[in-house]
Amino acid sequence: MTPEIQELLAALEGEGYVAEPSIATALFLARELKKPLLVEGDAGVGKTELAKVLARLLSTELIRLQCYEGLDVQTALYEWDYPRQLIRLRLSEGRSEDSQELEARIFSRNYLLERPLLRAITRQDRAAVLLIDEVDRADDGFEAFLLELLSDFQVTIPELGTIRAEHTPHVLLTSNRTRELGDALRRRCLYLYIEHPSLEKEVRIIRTRLPETREGLAGEVGRFLQALRARELVKPPGVAETLDWTQALLRLRQDSLEAGIVTQTLGCLLKDRHDLQAVTASDVAALVTLAREAP
């Protein structure tokens, strides 16, 4: 393995993110090639967490843009501070002020409200981590706009001129595949698909994030989750659910899985009515037995 990737892998783990080699490879390539990284995967596999960890790792600011349908440029990029501009105009009334100077003043950076995307490219000291979360929820129009921004990292504001990025931010885009992204956007990025973790990884994640978990319980939880995910589920539980559930078990002072408690706490893992109905009490008992068998 390339030494830089190995280093990154260790650093990620040091920050509490147990990563597959492919994740470290993707981060490394994105950084070296200065390309945005598009991360896809089921809910709860740690897509957003990856950006947070990366920001901690680079000790820089994490700038997050949550996408939604109807997201527009005023919320994502910049907006003029109209009320303040108006007040400034009113104050200048009666005074003999040079109109051109006044105009230059009210359309200066002081009156510009920076939204996440603009803030990400105007940071002075170092490159920020820009997380564009759930980009599939924004509409096609916004996607096209994003495409332009991600290729040049510059923004043109009619009244101000073009603002170029001081430092190209590290861009992570996440998508839940609620809608297929445009091909152009996908091509502009590097692409990473995060799978659910393997048993060994999952146990290590539990132990890293919740150190008070005993080894035995972590193993049982891991095996239970692996078996549960093998079933046909509407919403397979992700790592986030695993951690929630383990925490719940810890809070209930459980040292080992027990069918009754598992059934009661199944809501931590399965968050869909169909799934909850599909996994019956006898299924739970079978899964628990399976999980408790020593490997």
């Binding site: 393995m1 390539l29 896809e40 109807g70 108006l86 297929e180 091509r187 590097l190």
Partner: protein, 373 residues
Amino acid sequence: MTDIALGLGRLGRALRNQGVGVTLRDELDAADALCLVGLADREEVGRTLRIALKIPRFDLATFERLLGLFWSDEAGVPPAAPLRPRQAPAAPRGPALHWDPDARRMGVAHAAPGPGDRPGWSREALLRRRPFAEEWSPRDLVAMERLLARLARRLATRRGRRLVPTRGRGRADIRSSYRRALRTSGELLSLARRAREVREPRVAFLLDTSGSMDAHTRFLLSFTLALRRAAPSAEVFVFNTELVHLTPWLAAGKVQLSLDRLAAAVPDWSGGTRIGECLAAFADEHFRRSPDGKTVVVVLSDGLDRGDPALLAQSVRRIRRRARKLIWLNPLAGDARYEPSAAGMRAALPFVDHLGSAHDLRSLEKALAHLVA
């Protein structure tokens, strides 16, 4: 370096031949990326290529297989990837739809003198209640298409959530209003307004062409085609034992499509039914690539299935999860005594938003309302 470039070019071409969309740009990215990692580690090269070539998850198996073919220790010429077999224009199977060049419409050729010759009679009103299973004259068909086109236009007026500036009525847009006020030295003289944008509807039709649907197929197909004229983004599929994506056949300029060719493209026209498999194929191959939670999926089928009801239920559920709405139109449901008792229909029912009949135009008109809502 030239070796890498050559290998990448070949891998890219092999991937494209297998239907994995890899562009020159991706290959350039991959070349850049390969310069950064160790080439000795097969695993790492695989990971790097996957990331830089942007291989979607469902194409991962194809990618791994091809990479395996290309990755050999003796750095010789990689084996030529097998070309995907092109679909040859096969001889028409089964009874082809009839094409009458004079009528320019599909359907039965012999025009029986219809009741339309009587005065004071509205062709449309009668048409609406006329069961599809009966014979239709070419004139009826023309009238039907006209009616359909009008109904379909209603489809194209769904509103999205995005607010766009409007000159008419709408919500006040304070930001733009202020911005406009700057022109008049801060006096708010008029309000700018925004309203929800008009959205093109996303509809996917899945039309059952099996033998049991034969009487209805032609009309349902022309219904779908008329809808497509009003909403060009609509996707059309037909299925019986296999799923066929019809939309490419209906591309602009091919409106005068030859139905013989169409029939040739659809295997086993009027044959048996395997709804479960076909819907699974739709969910896997097509709907997976365009899932947006905005598509309305319309299945036109009688639900008489020879396959496994469990598979059908599972497929329907998967489609429902990704669709905005799932509408099932069943020609049999026009009968008042109809109960969804066929195993396939029963399996699908829990996941269907609306089960409607599709035996005459009026019922389709009703179904349209559900499409728009």
